[in-house]
Symmetry: C2
Subunit: 332 residues, 2 copies
DNA sequence: GCAATCATTGCACACGATTGCAATACACTG
DNA sequence: CAGTGTATTGCAATCGTGTGCAATGATTGC
């Protein structure tokens, strides 16, 4: 029933060291108020007896938690499976980055997070700050949250005059890189596949069209899933007699959907049609042929996110940041 | 500097309701000691004023945290990228399942978790229980943890006389299903690709060989990565004149690696060689051709894990559980 | 009508750590 | 030697909530 927990507390250490509890507290906190020898002795004793501080008590007293909430979009239903593996990779890197700062992660799915007003989420969950992943949808709520001075950062689309800190890859530049590559390959016509209303993807498209001079068409789809993309392109290929010479997909998952449709239509890749995705998710490498795609450096992204969040928690307001992006040329 | 947090506490609610603080505490906790009308009134007031309980204080007093640690293998280095998307899916489902039980998730990477002796992890992180994902490596430490009565569950390989609660898919049966399918297709020779020493995979192999009557060879590799599998099979195909008629890979990722090697060798799938993976990870669907694989139901897995963990926390010891597995036939 | 029972509520302390302030001891200055 | 300063430590209050026990008033039984 009751697990034994750690029955050893600060008071015990104090007794063992022959000092008072506050002195132990200060010693472990490396306070300059305590004699160096005393500190060393206390630390040694605490170490030897496997003392572990009670986070609940510490948090209560300090009014902070050393915990950061990460809010991420998990597929609500098993069959949806829409969650992007890219997010997983980012999450892993965030986990590491936060660990380096001595912070714990409180993981929330968007649905459970939204059962509570965003503004109260922090107090409710008892965290010092929040990292949002893939929440481009709710700018107003995030703005309100920023208004009350809550420390948080968002992974998503950059844009001017956003009142909070957004870290994201340079989607505009990414799109541009794709256009440049298509040009270099001498392609004359291009098709873009992606949903409207998804800010990051719109920016990719934007960068692309700004830099692209050839023939252009857009295939607007409902979501970012493999299946949707595959079906949509299949239909499109049926209706249009000529396949485009190049396809730019809004994400790797969609690019793979497109590749499936191309294969079914008997169009050879990359000879007849070259395809470029976005994200450089692991699956891009595993795919046959391996996917040409725009890479977002998740490790650097995680570091930037965490770094800026920490500084915010310490009271320094932070501006957003743009990540370098590069195109990774593989088999498509 | 100081974020305003929620300045409203139980004392305020008490004053507003004209009762004492303890009464508020009991009312919100639905104690039968409080008059129903009083309870309702207090709850309403608390609700209306957006009162949110201070978890730190509550946890301190109750000596529990309503938080479960999930320890998962994140890739330590960005370039490793070995983490299986299957784990991500499982994590998402666990997140949902825990949310249903009002539990929060504390996410730890294995590396940060191992910076502290496993036995103290729970007290250190201040959680009520732990879910391990993909830790088949350290049975002794887990056994020791079980010894001290810590509540935890493990996703991994089932086996008899393990002193703690393991939930896993029926790997043995999974391998058997693959053998049966190969037989049904009339294949005469089979090759297994997978690392030795990985318990779950060994069991898959075990189930397979028990049921398989044809010619059999094993290709032992170093790890579970796409690249390793691809290279190893490539080499193997070079050395052996005849390709096997069927390949069973230890995981989907490895199956995709094998498919890449087969393609390079000009061997047609599934005509000349049929391939079967394991996990039914999302990438299996996205692959071209789509992967035939053994499915593990992550939603059910998550429910079982969480359910058993909760019961342990409440003091009921739990035995392990075996998940149903089924083979999903797709294009390979 | 009096005592016993019950339902409801408040008092006061506990949880385990942090911190402002006072206390002590000692050194140093003039 | 008195006075001031400095280094080190302990006392006691505090964070916000939960809970054993006593107290209150209402109800019941005889």
């Amino acid at each position: 029933m009751k697990n034994p927990k750690s029955p050893i507390g600060m008071a015990d250490i104090a007794r063992l060291a022959g000092v008072s509890r506050p002195t132990v507290s200060r010693a472990l906190g490396d306070s300059p108020l305590v004699n160096q020898e005393t500190k060393d002795r206390i630390k040694e004793i605490a170490q030897r007896h496997g003392f572990i501080i009670n986070r609940s008590a510490q948090n209560l007293r300090r009014k902070q938690t050393n915990t950061v909430a990460v809010i991420i979009d998990f597929p609500a239903l098993p069959q949806e499976r829409i969650s992007d593996p890219f997010h997983f990779e980012l999450l892993g890197n965030i986990s590491n980055a936060l660990a380096n700062h001595g912070q714990d992660i409180l993981l929330c799915s968007t649905q459970s997070a939204h059962s509570v007003p965003l503004g109260q989420l922090m107090a409710h969950k008892g965290v010092d700050g929040i990292i949002f992943i893939g929440q481009s949808g709710q700018k107003e709520e995030l703005a309100a949250l920023a208004e009350q001075g809550a420390p948080f950062v968002v992974w998503g689309a950059q844009s001017t005059r956003i009142p909070y800190c957004v870290v994201g890859s340079d989607n505009h530049r990414g799109g541009q890189l794709v256009a440049e590559r298509f040009e270099k390959l001498g392609r004359k016509s291009a098709l873009f596949i992606g949903p409207r209303g998804h800010e990051e993807i719109e920016m990719r498209l934007n960068g692309f069209t700004k830099a692209w001079v050839g023939n252009f068409q857009e295939l607007a789809v409902q979501d970012l899933s493999f299946q949707t993309s595959r079906d949509a392109l299949g239909l499109w290929l049926g209706k249009n007699k000529r396949a485009p010479e190049a396809i730019f997909a809004g994400s790797d998952t969609m690019a793979m959907g497109a590749l499936a449709a191309l294969k079914e239509a008997g169009i050879s890749v990359p000879d007849e049609c070259t395809v470029c995705g976005y994200d450089d998710s692991p699956a891009a490498i595993y795919h046959t042929p391996a996917l040409t795609t725009v890479k977002q450096d998740t490790a650097e992204a995680a570091n930037l996110l965490v770094d800026r969040l920490m500084k915010q928690i310490e009271g320094e307001p932070q501006t957003g940041a743009l990540l370098n992006t590069e195109i990774v040329v593989r088999g498509t």
